[in-house]
């Protein structure tokens, strides 16, 4: 006899369930802990202890504001928005700039370079490695870096980026376009210097 297929609850369903019983919030924490840790690391929160602190703040803020979750958004966009704001306020509070390795491994670099539809207008003069991309990312303006990270390293679509950064979808395209140019310039400068 065939068993009915039980799909795991969606994030949005889990929000509703958490409002009835807070223990369900643990499932959301499990789903997003690793993703958000990686995202805030890319935004500049590198120290593991700092990451834990920021993650706690993110999840607590999420929990406090569950009733304010706009169901017309993806939960993922909403929690990324909270994470973005917490990371920014963390490094502003600490008065530091993002540093270190914003992206991790060669797999991510390959993913970034293979996004041909997005990078067609960014002409890279040479094969780049993770170290060079990291250094180039640190050189470009913060507003461009945020969009590039979300698009190429978090694989968010334009609508999601718009919802996370609270900017119009058209501006996402513009920022990406300009960011890629800046990144290409920075990468090419790196190449010359190396």
């Amino acid at each position: 006899m065939e068993q009915p297929l039980h799909l795991p609850p969606s994030d949005e369903e889990l929000v509703k369930m958490t409002l009835q019983d807070k223990s369900h919030f643990g499932v959301l924490v499990d789903r997003y802990q690793a993703k958000l840790a990686r995202y805030i690391a890319r935004l500049g929160v590198r120290d593991p202890e700092d990451q834990m602190d920021v993650l706690q703040d993110i999840f607590l803020k999420t929990y406090r504001n569950l009733n304010g979750f706009d169901t017309s958004l993806h939960f993922s966009s909403w929690i990324y928005r909270i994470a973005h704001n917490e990371a920014i306020s963390w490094y502003r509070k600490k008065n530091v700039r993002p540093e270190g390795h914003l992206i991790g491994d060669s797999e991510e670099i390959i993913g970034f370079l293979s996004a041909k539809d997005e990078s067609a207008d960014a002409q890279f003069d040479k094969t780049v490695n993770a170290k060079e991309v990291n250094e180039a990312l640190l050189k470009i303006d913060e507003k461009y870096r945020e969009v590039i990270i979300l698009r190429f390293f978090e694989h968010k679509d334009y609508d999601e980026i718009s919802d996370i950064l609270k900017i119009p979808v058209g501006s996402v395209g513009t920022l990406l376009h300009r960011g890629k140019k800046q990144l290409a310039d920075a990468l090419n400068q790196e190449a010359i210097r190396i």
Partner: protein, 309 residues
């Protein structure tokens, strides 16, 4: 950071639930979020309404002054408009547009729209609302109410009175308070400052005399013959148009009458000059000099044949 935050290897989920328990963290009420959203929309709506009022008053001023007798008060239309534009309302409109954009941007989905879309929508709404309000006379009403109740606020009525109550420059606002039953060339006129003038109306046409006889507020052009004893020579009387029900057609008609009147006086000036030259040697009696031929608007207005004949 909070002291409760761990520096150990305890799983995040566990730490979070401990904090939720110990700090008694609860989801905020939905009402808070809904109130915030309502608050933002309310202020957006309010800014659009005030913006529309600002447009209504500005439209009223601009439309009304299209038909102004600016030649009586200013050297040209440009300097006249610089003096009468409602700067306060224009500033208010700009502030309200900014407030509307700010509030719309801070609604739940406001960030999705580019600034130009939000700006245009606010402008279109304010102009549409302002035009509708002006159509029903709200521009005039708001301006008048504020003017009546706030000493500091210079309404268009106050401004118009200020511009027209200037005997030195040949302008008066007021009403006839006394005239003899018999045909007379002198009446008693009380201006808005409460002064009574002995008014020579010998050069006024019947239409103007009839207008004065209604005892309604009028605007006069002429010449102050003797300000100490309050003697004024009237050269034109025009209805006080600063009222809600005055139509554009009426204002246009009055503007036409004003231009015609000034043109007639200008014509007299030309005739006087001609007759003085022709008759200086063969006439025992010089023609009577027209006072109205020398008033300021006659000198300011370029008179064409279409009015002056």
């Amino acid at each position: 950071m909070n002291n409760n935050q761990t520096k150990n290897t305890k799983p995040l989920k566990e730490t979070l639930f401990e904090r939720i328990e110990s700090e008694r963290v609860c989801p905020k009420s939905r009402l808070i979020f809904q109130s915030k959203e309502c608050f933002v929309w309310f202020f957006w709506f309010l800014s659009v309404v005030i913006g529309a009022l600002a447009v209504a008053v500005s439209l009223f001023v601009v439309i009304h002054h299209q038909f102004a007798f600016y030649e009586a008060t200013h050297n040209n239309f440009f300097t006249f408009m610089l003096d009468v534009l409602p700067y306060l309302w224009i500033l208010m409109f700009l502030i309200m547009v900014y407030v509307a954009i700010y509030n719309l941007k801070h609604t739940a989905h406001g960030y999705r729209y580019p600034v130009w879309v939000i700006l245009s929508s606010s402008l279109v709404l304010s102009f549409a609302g302002g035009s509708a309000l002006q159509l029903f006379g709200f521009g005039y009403t708001v301006d008048k109410i504020l003017g009546d109740h706030m000493d500091m606020y210079v309404s268009q009525e106050k401004l118009e009175k200020k511009m027209w109550q200037d005997p030195d420059d040949g302008r008066l606002v007021g009403k006839q308070v006394f005239s003899t039953l018999a045909p007379t060339s002198t009446i008693v006129f009380e201006d808005v400052a409460g002064r009574r003038w002995r008014m020579d109306v010998s050069e006024l046409p019947v239409r103007d005399l009839e207008l004065l006889a209604t005892n309604k507020t009028v605007k006069l052009i002429g010449k102050s013959v003797n300000e100490k004893v309050h003697i004024f020579h009237a050269c034109g009387a025009f209805p006080w148009m600063m009222e809600k029900d005055v139509t554009l057609a009426q204002m246009n008609e009055e503007r036409r009458v004003f231009v015609q009147r000034v043109s007639e006086h200008a014509k007299k000036a030309k005739e006087q000059l001609f007759m003085t030259g022709e008759r200086s040697f063969d006439s025992a009696v010089l023609p009577r000099q027209s006072v109205c031929a020398t008033i300021a608007p006659v000198r300011k207005m370029p008179v064409g044949d279409e009015f002056g004949g």
